[in-house]
């Protein structure tokens, strides 16, 4: 692969990682919320309430999905606590 090809591949990987690296959900859901903003642009009150609420809901859901399991207790460790 040429130097230019490697740079282009790295640039493509950067954007993939930027948009989808942390969560597959955030980018497509954000695009959907942008669509909602356009749809509600003539209904001011609804727009200024619904758009921030959708964003809060998205972050909360993405964080909920990103929870990590607690480590398993080692041999001899109790279940309690």
């Amino acid at each position: 692969m040429t130097t230019l090809g490697r740079w282009l591949a790295a640039f493509g990987r950067f954007w993939l990682d930027f948009l989808f690296g942390d969560s597959l959900l955030l980018f497509p859901a954000t695009l959907a919320i942008v669509g909602v903003a356009f749809a509600l642009r003539h209904q001011r009150t609804a727009a200024i309430v619904v758009v921030p609420l959708l964003l809060v809901g998205l972050i909360a859901f993405a964080a909920y999905l990103g929870r990590q399991r607690a480590p398993r207790p080692g041999p001899g460790e109790g279940e309690g606590g």
Binding site: D22, L26, V51, P52, L55, I59, A62, A63, A70, P71
Partner: protein
Amino acid sequence: MSAATATLLVAVFAASAVEMVEALTIVVAVGVTRGWRSALEGAASAVAVLIVVVGAVGVPLVRYVPLSAIRVIVGTLLLVMGESWLRKAVLRASGHKSAHDEDEIFAETVGELRAEGTATRRDGVAFAVSFKGVFLEGIEVAIIVISVGGSQHRLGLAAAAAAAALVVVGTVGALVARQLREVPENLIKWAVGIMLTSLGAFWMGEGAGIAWPGGDLAIPVLVAVFLAASLLMTAVLKTRALAPPVPAESS
């Protein structure tokens, strides 16, 4: 100074500082492992390329693309970046993710470099690793500068805030070198995530045609909403720890 200008300065400075701490971690790891000359040359070359990128992409963007289109595109990019940082900050604060990236980045970079073997006087590996680290972290800074600056037609001000962050992080980094774990990374990322999400929501909305009540004054309100929501999420997730995984052999 308007709310939007103040938020621009703080958001660009803080976001740039966080990315630069990660870049600095890589440069320090390269410098310690393979020698400082090539590490610093790689970092300086990456900064030079990034300045060219900001000039080549940012200036035409600000001059020739309609402001509403810029605001929708960069608002969306800022939202994705801000949501991601906020999500990670909430996960860290609630104990679902390790608190520091820097130790991991440092260990990973040192491990990679040791695997490459002994350094020569002019170290191509050190140059490449340092360049790549600074360039990739710096591209995020460039996106923030171009998007935040472009959205308000204040590219120069955004670039100046990023340059100030470079000077501060570079100076502090030179003084403390390997003490990067002392940086309150999660707190900064949390604040920056809230600011980027708020600015992104504001500009995306303005670009889409939503008239925010109070104009720029809606930004502090959005900041308050996302701050309160993230504190609530952290409190809830602290009580929602997943059970340990079930062993594969058990049925």
